[in-house]
């Protein structure tokens, strides 16, 4: 199959990957044969087969809703690229093109 450039552009935006032109062209070439390979799944009739999301029988694991110790703010922020007091520092959400 041929993978359209605009599909690659769109998927890169969804994935928040800032690929440059060269990378996008390479993705287009490399992903096409992989997606072609997936086509073989079409050989199987699966309309009545239930999907398997995971293989163990545990469904929902509940615990009492009780306060318990968690990481300290210092630990939580220990690897933060930017911090201010006990908060993560982020870039401006609006503006700054």
């Amino acid at each position: 199959m041929k993978l359209e450039r605009e599909v690659v552009d769109n998927v890169a935006v969804l994935a928040r990957l800032g690929l440059d032109d060269n990378e996008k062209e390479r993705m287009r070439e490399e992903l096409a044969p992989i997606l072609d390979y997936f086509e073989m799944l079409g050989e199987l009739e699966t309309s009545h087969i239930p999907p398997t999301a995971q293989v163990i029988t545990i469904q929902n694991l509940m615990r009492p809703d009780e306060a318990r110790p968690s990481l300290s703010p210092e630990d939580v922020l220990a690897n933060a690229p930017g911090r201010e007091d006990s908060s993560f520092r982020v870039r401006p959400v609006f503006g700054g093109q």
Binding site: M40, L41, L44, P50, Q54, I58, V93
Partner: protein, 488 residues
């Protein structure tokens, strides 16, 4: 003699510690000396923690002297794949994204090994975020196979398998999402066990594909594998997919009598393009199991050929969601120049992820995106049901399944690096077990062209004991596991 300590099995080293023939410091020094002597060629380690290891060894020697150590793992030098969180010790996933990341807590398995008294000598190299089959996707360097330095050690846990094969630790833990423990174990001639999904806690394992990931040991023989399972398996309330069932003493499974056991040989695992030498070696190993009294019958598992496609939809889909957490805000690499939040995401992720990780995020995002979800992700989940049903059917009448671990021996560095699909085919024999969540082991099964060939044994869910028993029976009847690579 002291110079050869690093080549012992874990059990042998443990016995020598108990009989006071050696100290933990001597064992640890022997392993550190071995790292200093050969790791510039093998390049298995991302981080070596020599000082901490020696201090820990001294501490363990005091405890051993008082006779207070209860675990056979006490005082044993080990290493860990750099995907497991180690408190206070850099944990990189061999990615630029986590190059300077220092976890603030231990993974549950790390905590359990610390409690058992093991001595951590370092963290091992891997394919970035465990995506790959050769360690060539590490953002730092490629690990070399100790049996032939021009070849890959397999992956993604290639640093762990190479380290254990080369005498740089008596045990390593890796992670296996589609074969990342068993395939490198096969290529490096060591024992690699992927337990049942949920048997070993994944808390603190940096996530790749959460419905498939499982932690397991690399060791030099099957006895050691059982000893490690005794220490790491079991329920963990911090992992919501952890199985809450009692843990057996896995060493009790080490009984070499497999007379009358029924072993299935699936014809689909002898794939087109398989090395003739690998096939010959595995057929010889099968004959040995028959000689030991096992009943081997060929079976068909008709959906095997769809497992690779299914895997390469499901794993990247889950990965694309898991890796969304790398936003340059909470931890990890962060682009310093971006003018606003969204541009920061784009640049941070572009600069810090390598090409295979980006490729998989793209595949996964595509497969989950509006208009494609049913055709890819949902379809793959349905085919996963069929693959699992193939296994259920075989295990109705067989104790275990026997196959090659990998269709080839170790391949040359660079040989498959330019062709993602050819690389993906390295995992064709290991992926189905992850889809079904069942346990599997790779043990040394012989050599082809001077390179190790792994024999894979798969069992039903929670059937680790059966898998270990068959592996042990084969191992006791052969000498392959006693071979060490000719490194000097």
């Amino acid at each position: 003699m002291a110079g050869e300590l690093f080549n012992l099995t874990l059990k042998e080293a443990s016995d020598k510690l108990r009989s006071k023939e050696v100290s933990s410091r001597e064992l640890t020094q022997s392993v550190l000396d071995r790292i200093a002597a050969v790791d510039d060629k093998v390049k298995a380690f991302v981080t070596v923690t020599a000082e901490q290891a020696l201090a820990q060894a001294d501490e363990m020697d005091k405890i051993l002297a008082k006779g207070e150590a209860t675990s056979p793992l006490a005082g044993i030098p080990i290493n860990l794949k750099d995907v497991l969180s180690t408190k206070g010790i850099r944990t990189t996933c061999s990615s630029k994204m986590l190059e300077n990341f220092v976890p603030v807590y231990d993974a549950t398995v790390v905590e359990r090994l610390r409690q058992a008294g093991t001595v951590l000598v370092g963290k091992t190299n891997m394919d970035e975020f465990a995506m790959g089959s050769s360690t060539e996707n590490s953002r730092f360097f490629t690990t070399h196979n100790p049996w032939d330095l021009d070849t890959v050690p397999g992956g993604s846990s290639g640093g762990s398998s190479a380290a254990v094969a080369a005498g740089m630790g008596f045990l390593s833990l890796g992670s296996d999402t589609g074969g990342s423990i068993r395939q490198p174990a096969s290529l490096c001639g060591v024992v690699g066990l992927k337990p049942t999904y949920g048997r070993v806690s994944r808390y603190g394992l940096i996530a790749f594909a959460s419905s498939l990931d499982q932690v397991g040991p690399f060791t030099r023989d099957v006895t050691d594998s059982a000893l490690v399972m005794n220490a790491i398996a079991g329920f963990d309330s911090r992992d919501s997919t952890s199985i809450d069932q009692p843990i057996p003493d896995y060493t009790k499974a080490l009984n070499p009598d497999i007379k009358g056991m029924r072993l299935a040989l699936p014809k689909e695992y002898f794939v087109e393009g398989m090395d003739p030498g690998v096939e010959r070696t595995i057929r010889t190993a099968v004959a040995k199991l028959q000689e030991l009294g096992a009943v081997v019958e060929e079976v068909s598992m008709p959906h095997t050929k769809y497992a690779l496609s299914t895997y390469y939809i499901i794993a990247p889909s889950e990965a694309s969601a898991n890796l969304a957490r790398y936003d340059g805000v909470k931890y990890g690499y962060s682009d310093a120049q971006a003018p606003n939040l969204i541009e920061g995401y784009f640049r941070t992720r572009d600069e810090a992820f390598g090409s295979e990780v980006k490729r998989r995020i793209m595949i996964g995002t595509y497969a989950l995106s509006s208009g494609y979800y049913d055709a890819y992700y949902l379809k793959a989940q349905k085919v996963r049901t069929l693959i699992k049903a193939d296994f259920d059917k075989v295990f109705e009448t067989f104790d275990a399944i026997i196959s090659p671990t990998s269709p080839t021996v170790a391949f040359k560095i660079g040989e498959k690096a330019a062709d993602p699909l050819a690389m993906y085919l390295s995992d064709v024999c290991t992926i189905p077990a992850n889809m079904a969540g069942i346990p599997g082991i790779s043990i040394p099964g012989g050599f082809s062209d001077g390179l190790p060939v792994g024999l894979q044994i798969l069992g039903p869910a929670l059937g680790e004991e059966k898998v270990l028993q068959i592996a042990y029976a084969y191992e006791q009847a052969t000498e392959w596991h006693k071979q060490r690579p000719p490194l000097s």
